[in-house]
């Protein structure tokens, strides 16, 4: 397929959908996120074979197989390093990483810091439901301290993690928050995130209808479009986050850092390296 012909290809959301039926519970926010992926990719007009969706483990992390892109459903918590290796080897691909609050902020927390810091040109989408859905309802790093679960009958008593603050402090180049109930608005965030160079982080509040039955309704009432415009100044972004209650949606920050290494790999005859061994 040559480039000219490729440019004439047109894409509809359905072109990014696979025939695999999602395992998600009816009403789970992740269904909407899948739809957003399809719409965003169609808007970006990316050939499905030029997109790779990489994930870890969790309900949210099941998303790659439901798309018609290349996918890698890895082990729990390690999607970002997988995506890093892929993007360094193949800068021509569009790499989107899908994760959950447990996968991305708990077991994979360290990789989150370093992916932000490295500023690799990938888009990191975390479907945050403030719970471990797949393992049937344990607290995650974003769960409220008084949320009662079997494993923490009186709540964890532990202050939740603020992923946007961490992303900003660690050097992410694009930071946004969306809500799975806002199909159009959140699709827009994904499009912008993919377009923006460097490491783009989008937290999507995506309710777990099974283990946090109250979430969907409550969040619909709580989320609001952020009134303050986005900024490229990390200090302003930090000040805004100080008063953020976790429900302001939209783009918070768009930085100007150059993305990590982008040269494509090449071929060569390595025998010139032998000179250093010759005596």
């Amino acid at each position: 397929m040559n480039r000219m012909a490729d440019m004439r290809r047109e894409f509809k959301p359905a072109d990014y959908k696979s025939s695999v039926k999602p395992v998600w519970c009816p009403g789970c926010g992740d269904h909407s996120v899948l739809l957003m992926f399809q719409r965003a990719l169609a808007e970006l007009a990316l050939p499905p074979e030029q997109v790779a969706i990489v994930s870890g483990i969790g309900c949210s992390s099941r998303i790659p197989a439901y798309t018609n892109c290349y996918g890698f459903h890895g082990v729990h918590g390690r999607s970002l390093p997988l995506a890093t290796g892929l993007k360094v080897a193949r800068p021509d691909l569009t790499v989107i990483v899908a994760s959950g609050d447990g996968d991305g902020f708990s077991i994979g927390g360290n990789h989150f810091l370093h992916a932000c810091r490295r500023n690799i040109d990938v888009t990191y989408i975390v479907m945050d439901n403030r719970i471990y859905g797949m393992t049937k309802g344990q607290p995650s790093p974003t769960t409220e301290p008084d949320w009662e679960t079997d494993i923490a009958p009186e709540g964890t008593g532990v202050t939740p993690f603020h992923p946007l603050v961490i992303a900003l402090a660690s050097g992410a180049n694009f930071i946004a928050r969306g809500f799975s109930g806002d199909l159009a608005g959140c699709t827009r965030l994904i499009v912008e995130a993919v377009r923006w160079p460097g490491f783009s982080f989008v937290q999507i509040l995506s309710p777990c209808v099974t283990f946090r039955a109250d979430q969907q309704k409550a969040w619909r009432e709580q989320v609001r479009k952020a009134v303050v415009p986005e900024t490229d100044d990390p200090a302003r972004a930090a000040r805004r986050l100080m008063t953020d209650d976790g429900f302001n949606t939209g783009i918070l920050y768009r930085g100007k850092r150059e993305a990590y290494r982008q040269q494509p790999f090449g071929d060569c005859d390595p025998s010139f390296l032998e000179a250093e061994f010759e005596v």
Binding site: Q50, A65, G85, V88, L273, F277
Partner: protein, 576 residues
């Protein structure tokens, strides 16, 4: 007891406090000898300190290629005695040896005196002080070069090439110190090496870790993700310099969980990829190795083994990661484990391992170790080998693609992102032939079988082992233990004892038919390895039919297996 007295080789140890310059002096001695047409080996021993502490450079010179330590030292030159007792077990000396000591260093420690070795005193520190910017280590080099009989020109050329390049201002002082050392060499004789007739040509000076790096690049590796760890770091550092010149890249990961996933990501993208680590890092990588097996993603993981368990002795060798490499993964997870047989063999083994990973779409664990990784040898330029490595990819246009379709070989075409209609999701979940997650028994069994079958059906016979000689007695070993065995067998043969050597380069998957053929006519087998738990012997017992008479000789690290010990076992084995 074999003696190197007939100057088959000459072993020299230089010891001193860390920072005293013994490593540089040892390296220069090896380089000077190389210029005179000798072959040689330099191994290093250091304590845990980052700076200071104790250091020993052990140099073995010979008119023939030598790739493992000898039985004893002909010369021990000590710049000081501060920490020398820590090397007691590593520096075998006997009455025909020579100790060169500095009177300023005080009394010679009892364990050294007890060896009965001759003693010569040279006031190295004092001589060094008489030269502005002079260093004792350079005086020592002058002394040793003179005793060995290396031409002064060769030594000063080596010094000029090394120090002149790095620190030109120190060159004059080094030259002066060398000459002073030479002039004050004690009037004693040490065994003479035969002077090689021909000038060295087409020789390489290379460490095992460099050879691994270069072998991997020859095999086509473009991407390395790695996290620093002794004794594997030099592979990463060497490749960090080399890869960008070859159109590839290295990324320093935040930990080993990241490095192995980075290499999987790169490989998924079509770039042959490798990571290098040691036992602690391999332990962290195990879960993701299972993912590489299940998703059939080719990767190479080099484990430069060190003494374990846990942090163990980071700077010293042991062959004790065989169990984790073979059995560490959960589930039924067939994969490949290889092991280089010597410093020079790191090149072939790394290159072959990339070929295996790419051809079989599976992870390959390469078990190198500190004793070969961090040692440097002068070798003949290795033969060029090409495996014509190519990953099997689907031919385009792709139609009705099934990534994990059962094929005759078990290897199915792996599409590369960008290939139209080749989209699939690589998955650690049990999946069907199309890669779609499945929890059905039939899919599970079919894919388990496919992954086992691709290894069973592959022909490993070209490089699975090195087999040498004939005899009713065979030594069976693996990896870096092979070299001292080879040397012992050569001596045994000169004494009229026929011994066969079987050194396995392929640990897993096991090759019972190939070994059975190699063992034809063998009555008695000595299984020799460097592990306390006899891991190799137990592994052989699980998968191979061995002759009735098998003796397990399992020596823990960190002390090297020496040819003399092996020879004693051979002599006992042959007469039994």
């Amino acid at each position: 007891m074999i003696t190197s007295g007939e100057a088959v080789s000459l072993s020299i140890a230089l010891t001193g406090s860390g920072g005293a310059g013994v490593m540089t002096a040892g390296q220069l001695l090896l380089e000077a000898a190389t210029r005179c047409g000798l072959y040689g080996l330099m191994t290093r021993s250091t304590g845990p300190q980052i700076r200071g502490g104790e250091a020993a450079a052990m140099v073995r010179l010979s008119p023939k290629v030598v790739q493992s330590p000898g039985d004893r030292f002909d010369v021990l030159l000590a710049l000081d005695f501060d920490n020398v007792q820590r090397f007691a077990a590593e520096l075998p000396l006997d009455s025909s040896g020579l100790i060169i000591a500095d009177p300023a260093a005080g009394d010679i420690p009892a364990f050294l005196r007890a060896s009965g070795a001759r003693v010569a005193q040279v006031p190295m520190a004092k001589l060094a002080k008489s030269v502005s910017g002079g260093r004792s280590a350079m005086i020592a080099l002058g002394v040793l070069a003179r005793l060995i009989g290396l031409p002064e020109q060769a030594v000063s050329d080596a010094v000029a090439a090394s120090i002149g390049r790095r620190k030109p201002e120190a060159l004059a002082a080094s030259e002066e110190a060398l000459q002073l050392g030479s002039a004050h060499a004690p009037d004693v004789t040490i065994p003479r090496l035969a002077t090689p007739a021909s000038k060295p040509q087409g020789r390489w000076s290379i460490s095992g870790n460099e050879a691994t790096g270069y072998g991997a690049i020859r095999g086509g590796v473009k991407f390395v993700g790695g996290y620093p760890i002794t004794p594997a770091t030099e592979i990463l550092e060497w490749m960090a310099g080399a890869l960008p010149q070859c159109g590839g890249a290295l990324v320093q990961a935040e930990d080993e969980l990241a490095s192995i996933n980075m290499v999987m990501g790169a490989s998924f993208g079509g770039a042959p990829a490798l990571t290098a680590t040691a036992g602690p890092g391999l332990s962290l990588m195990i879960e993701s190795l299972g993912l590489a097996v299940a998703s059939e993603t080719p990767i190479v993981v080099v484990d430069v083994m060190r003494s374990g368990p846990s942090t163990g002795i980071a700077t010293k060798s042991e062959q004790s990661d065989l169990n984790i490499a073979v059995y560490g993964l959960h589930g039924d997870a067939p994969h490949v484990v290889t092991a280089p047989l010597s410093i020079s063999d790191c090149l072939l083994t790394a290159q072959w391992s990339v070929h295996l990973a790419e051809s079989l779409q599976t992870p390959v664990i390469v078990l190198s170790d500190q004793s070969i990784g961090q040692a440097r040898a002068v070798i003949d330029r290795p033969k060029e080998i090409s495996f014509g490595t190519r990953r099997l990819t689907p031919t385009e246009p792709i139609d009705n693609y099934a990534r994990y379709a059962a094929t005759e070989s078990g290897v199915s075409p792996m599409s590369i992102p960008g290939q139209r209609c080749g989209q699939y999701t690589a998955d650690g979940l049990t999946h069907n032939a199309r890669g779609v997650p499945s929890s059905q028994a039939q899919d599970h069994v079919e894919q388990l079988h496919k992954r086992q079958h691709k290894l069973d059906a592959f022909d490993f016979s070209t490089h699975w082992a090195e087999i040498d000689g004939q005899g009713e007695l065979a030594l069976l070993t693996w990896g870096s233990s092979s070299e001292p065995l080879r040397e012992a067998i050569e001596i045994a043969r000169s004494q009229g004892i026929n011994v066969k050597l079987i050194a396995l380069r392929l640990i897993s998957p096991p090759q019972p038919a190939l070994l059975a053929r190699a063992l034809e006519g063998v009555r008695r087998v000595l299984v020799i390895e460097q592990s306390h738990g006899a891991q190799f012997w137990r592994y052989l017992r699980a998968y191979y039919d061995l002759p009735a008479e098998v003796v397990s000789i399992a020596c823990p690290g960190p002390l090297p297996i020496r040819p003399g010990e092996v020879l004693a076992h051979i002599q006992k084995g042959a007469s039994a």
